[in-house]
């Protein structure tokens, strides 16, 4: 019989940390837009998991972490006005390196930032989980405890709103 794994054991806990920390960090980053704040939230969520390790099975650890982090985020009141950053676009041809292209890229980046700001926190996070993290609707639905359909609608709505906002800027 396999020995029952318990997160209270350090090795098991570390394994969960390795597996979930980065994606949890991204999740918190989408919400807060803040590098430091997202780090603190992740650490706090893991601390909570450790304190309740006896009650949380390894299978439930992931959803426990996301729910806890989400609750912790809701508890933080003040949000710094921070912006997302984007990397330079990949150069496909010589033309793309032209000043016009770079300027356009920069402008679009600014527009995208503004558009992302105009989304609700839930829409934005769902959209970024889907696009940046490449999460399926099913996974997003699990995080928010909503139906897969609702998750898909949330992402699609966000995309449409983004396009509308960018077009109007």
């Amino acid at each position: 019989m396999e020995k029952q794994t318990n997160i209270c054991q350090e090795q098991a806990f570390n394994k969960v940390y390795k597996a979930q920390a980065q994606s949890l960090r991204n999740f918190m980053f989408f919400k807060t837009k803040d590098t430091d704040a997202s780090y603190d939230l992740v650490q706090e969520a893991f601390l909570k998991l450790w304190q309740n390790c006896a009650k949380v099975t390894p299978e439930k650890a992931k959803s426990y972490l996301f729910t806890t982090a989400n609750n912790l985020f809701l508890n933080t009141v003040a949000h710094k006005k921070v912006q997302f950053k984007f990397t330079q676009g990949v150069k496909k041809s010589q033309d793309n390196n032209s000043p016009e292209f770079l300027l356009e890229e920069k402008e679009f980046g600014q527009k995208l930032q503004k558009a992302l700001d105009s989304l609700t926190q839930l829409q934005r996070t769902a959209f970024l989980l889907s696009r940046v993290e490449g999460k399926k609707y099913r996974e997003i639905a699990a995080i928010y405890n909503i139906s897969e359909k609702a998750a898909g609608k949330r992402v699609l709505d966000a995309l449409e709103k983004l396009r509308e906002t960018i077009d109007n800027l």
Partner: protein, 305 residues
């Protein structure tokens, strides 16, 4: 509608080739794609696993949770339960010991109370005391309104609080009278210390001090206050004051005829028999009395008539 469905599927990386055809034919798809590619370039914070775990280990809360893992679950709530019981017990003990017991004597008769340490208090009519019955061994303290006679068992300091001052003793018999602002303490046995008007006075047996409104020293000649035996006693008191006392007790009207009401009287009268009372007051002063009707009595000097 069709395009929207295709778009939703595309966002989930599940679009079929047919759906992709629909999308690429759609002019707006380019801008959606642009948003998508640009968003994907978002700079994400890199979460350093090793330093993250190390930082977590360094938190005091983390180590606390670790050390007390197993016993914590069982003993802490248990300990809390025990602590809660103790707190409740202590709380209720404090509550009960500070519960005051109030006793008021009837308007028409005196009442004797025995305290937990077999000290005795005799309350005069309508007198009122309050003390802490269950806290008595720790705090022998009585609050008094009216007049009462105390026979205190030996032990810790016994204190009588009155609006005009505090009377404290170790073991003795004494009488305390309070009325409006008056405080009269008479000592029959032992030694009584009275703290009134910011002054500490010792009252010795046979002494009766009036502390408020002013300090007056009188002598007493009885072994117990006279009201205990249903008597009123006087030491060198003007006659009219004594007669007023008789009027009060027997609900009669006294009139005087050709006598000096400033005559001084020392003695006592009973509360149970009007004739006896009148006799004990008039005889020593060579006076006589006649009952005119049921409630009217005249006092006169037989020699001057």
């Amino acid at each position: 509608m069709e395009t929207k469905q295709a778009l939703e599927k595309w966002l989930n990386n599940e679009a079929t080739p047919a759906e992709m055809q629909v999308l690429t034919a759609w002019p707006e798809f380019d801008s959606y794609k642009k948003i998508d590619t640009h968003t994907k370039r978002m700079v994400l914070p890199e979460h350093d696993i090793t330093s993250g775990i190390k930082a977590l280990r360094d938190t005091p809360l983390f180590n606390k949770a670790q050390k007390q893992k197993r016993p914590k679950i069982v003993t802490l709530p248990m300990l809390l339960k025990i602590a809660a019981i103790f707190v409740l017990l202590a709380g209720s003990t404090v509550f009960v010991t500070t519960l005051p017991t109030n006793i008021q004597a009837p308007i028409t008769s005196i009442q004797t109370i025995e305290l937990p340490d077999s000290s005795k208090i005799t309350l005069k009519e309508n007198a009122r005391i309050s003390y802490k019955k269950y806290g008595w061994p720790f705090n022998r303290e009585v609050t008094l309104e009216g007049e009462a006679y105390f026979e205190v068992a030996k032990g810790k300091t016994f204190t009588v609080r009155t609006p005009s001052g505090n009377v404290s003793v170790l073991g003795t018999s004494f009488n305390v009278k309070t009325e409006n602002d008056i405080l009269i303490v008479s000592c029959f046995e032992g030694l009584v210390s009275v703290n009134a008007n910011g002054m500490n006075t010792l009252v010795t047996p046979g002494d009766s001090f009036s502390f408020a409104p002013m300090l007056v020293n009188n002598k007493i000649y009885t072994s117990k206050p006279s009201w205990i035996f249903n008597e009123s006693s006087f030491v060198d008191i003007p006659l009219d004051a004594v007669l007023m006392e008789i009027e009060k007790h027997y609900k009669v009207t006294l009139t005087t005829k050709n006598i000096d009401v400033t005559l001084r009287y020392t003695g006592s009268f009973t509360h149970t028999n009007l004739d006896q009372a009148l006799q004990t007051v008039t005889l020593p002063l060579n006076l006589s009395f006649s009952k005119d009707s049921k409630n009217e009595v005249q006092i006169y000097d037989p020699k001057k008539q």
